[in-house]
């Protein structure tokens, strides 16, 4: 605080000179450098944020694709193995009567002493097996050649 008149005058005259003094980089340069640095930080932060949320223009989509599960390859396999099991009650087949029994033996002896007829009855035939599968196709007829 200038006390005397002389000091006041000195302060007035020294003021503008002090303001125009340029020690190295003046205020304008610092302001510009600060502005540029601030802009750099803001833009860098924006880009880091973009990248961290996966919206980087170049890496965003690529990273997501890399992160997805590996693609599955479809393979078509045709399996034609089919087993059908049907439970069917077994049909008891009765053996034919003795008249036409295939196993009956007829021994007819016209000669001999006493000459009686002996009919031997074969034991009852076993029940025919039940096949679940269709019967095999009949064999083709034999080829005959006429000579």
């Amino acid at each position: 605080m200038p006390a005397t008149m002389t000091e006041r005058v000195r302060a007035k005259t020294a003021g503008p000179r002090a303001a125009t003094a340029r020690p190295g980089l003046n205020g304008g340069w610092w302001k510009t450098l600060k502005l540029a640095s601030g802009m750099f930080v803001v833009v860098l932060a924006l880009m880091i944020w973009q990248m961290s949320i996966g919206r980087d223009p170049l890496l965003g989509a690529g990273s997501q694709i890399a992160r997805t599960e590996p693609a599955t390859v479809q393979r078509k396999l045709i399996v034609k193995r089919k087993v059908i099991i049907e439970q069917q009650p077994a049909i008891a087949t009765q053996a034919p009567s003795a008249v036409a029994a295939p196993g009956s033996a007829y021994t007819g002896a016209s000669g001999g002493s006493g000459g009686g007829t002996v009919v031997t009855q074969a034991p009852a035939a076993a029940p025919a097996p039940v096949y679940s599968s269709p019967a095999p196709a009949p064999a083709p007829a034999p080829v005959t050649r006429s000579s």
Binding site: T32, A36, F40, V43, M47, S63, R67
Partner: protein
Amino acid sequence: MNGFDVVVDPADHAWWLASRASGVVALALLTASVIIGLSLGGRFSQHIPKRLRPSLRAEPRLLSRAHEQTAVAALIAIGLHGVTLLGDGWLHPSLTDIAVPFTIDYRPVFTGLGIVGGYVALALGLSYYVRQRIGVARWKRVHRLVIAGWALSVLHTLGAGTDAAQGWLFWPVAASSGVVALLFIARMSEVGMRRRKPAAVNAGATYTGLTR
């Protein structure tokens, strides 16, 4: 964990991000410098609002200082843009790739245009400091070509810039390019008018001479 979780770590791409950010800053500063420079040369100060004029009167060289400072800051940012790219692990550019135009594999035309634009801005920008040696009138003529360096930088940004399609970059670049284009047209028309005036005076003198 679903299939779209982000796994990109920005720290892995620090050099690349720094290069991109410094490129954006370089273009912004260069554009600001060009706009101020075009405003300085013409009579645009007459159109400055009255409330801003006292501050300009108090600091008559305010705009020219701002022009110089933004230009130098832009050149520093351009240098940073190239140097930080050297550290990028994906692109792996060599010193030749970033210093010699059209030699890099990545978008060589637009990257090359950017390198040429950088050199133009560097040479014509720094020519300010040797203007006394080369002659002020000659320097002024040459310095006007710095707008070509700016145009190449814009082409480089839009053609090779990773963020060119992003709205936060594209629209400011488009808007500022429009401003530069308008100022440039206005400036050129002003220069053309100045050239026509002496020609008209000469023509008048010749005519007067003939009638005598």
